[in-house]
């Protein structure tokens, strides 16, 4: 018998939580970006699962996921370009040292 929906949703939730934890607590910028990718993937799992179980004849979830992947890719590229620039100027990618926007 096929797997009930909650399994996938729980998987997605846990993966999202791990990603959130990583994004909030790590100090290396690249690691933070990777955590963000984790979160996005978790979201994708959710979307596809819902799509498969609730509206199997439509494609809304999958299309949405495609766009998520697209944007994630663009964001990863740009984010890492910025990380590189900062690394060049300051020699470190410690997020905690990049706080010139402090108020």
């Amino acid at each position: 018998m096929p797997l009930p929906l909650p399994y996938f949703l729980v998987l997605g939730a846990l993966m999202f939580a791990v990603g959130a934890w990583g994004a909030l607590s790590r100090s290396n910028a690249v690691r933070v970006l990777m955590s963000i990718e984790l979160m996005l993937n978790a979201v994708n799992i959710n979307l596809v699962a819902f799509n498969r179980y609730l509206t199997p004849s439509e494609l809304t979830g999958q299309i949405f996921s495609i766009f998520v992947i697209t944007i994630a890719a663009a964001e990863a590229a740009l984010g890492l370009a910025i990380v590189l620039m900062i690394a060049r100027r300051r020699g470190a990618i410690d997020i905690n040292k990049i706080n010139t926007l402090r108020g």
Binding site: A13, V18, N41, I69, T70, L84
Partner: protein, 187 residues
């Protein structure tokens, strides 16, 4: 046990362990590799959910291109953490966990917040009126393509524009950086 359950269990284990390692691993190169593992496993999950096209796109774009970019970034930036601290590689699980949980500025707060999030989400899921049986999957790659170019044409075009902007942005950012470096590294 059915094949489905086993497959799901394996994939889930890989995903969760992998994500944990992405965050907690002391060496960032290990993190990157574990991320790749996670991405591929996610593609597996997609397959389980009959999203074939999506699985392939996941592998191609995420596990392929994005990973490449990440590894490049690591290579070009973090001299220190690539080689790394030899003793760091010998850390046990407990030690690693302990180190990972404590963030530098906020202590256990991020972990707690994330845990709380998870708890709430799972609680919500528990209350879901879940449809037990999935209906028959009736989509194919052709359907995806058709949908992209008809119902979702506008987002499609916008996504293209975003990608273009990203490419141009990346080039502009790094190119300027490059010319500055050529001018004697004045920053």
């Amino acid at each position: 046990m059915s094949l489905q359950v086993v497959a799901f269990a394996v994939l889930a284990a890989l995903i969760l362990y992998g994500s944990y390692k992405v965050v907690a691993s002391p060496l960032i190169t290990h993190s990157a590799l574990f991320l790749a593992l996670v991405l591929v496993s996610v593609a597996g999950v997609f397959l389980m959910l009959d999203a074939v096209f999506l699985a392939v796109v996941q592998v191609l774009v995420y596990a392929g291109a994005v990973m490449a970019v990440i590894i490049f970034a690591i290579m070009l930036s973090e001299q220190r953490e690539i080689g790394g601290d030899p003793s760091a590689q010998r850390m046990g699980f407990g030690e690693e966990l302990r180190r990972a949980l404590r963030s530098r500025h906020w202590g256990l707060l991020p972990a707690a917040a994330a845990a709380l999030l998870a708890v709430l989400a799972i609680a919500g899921i528990g209350r879901l009126a879940a449809p037990a049986a999935p209906g028959a999957a009736s989509t194919s790659v052709a359907d995806v393509g058709r949908a992209l170019l008809t119902d979702y044409l506008v987002p499609f075009e916008i996504a293209s524009a975003v990608l273009l902007a990203a490419v141009i942005g990346a080039i502009v950012l790094t190119a300027r950086e490059g010319s500055d470096a050529r001018d004697g590294g004045r920053s």
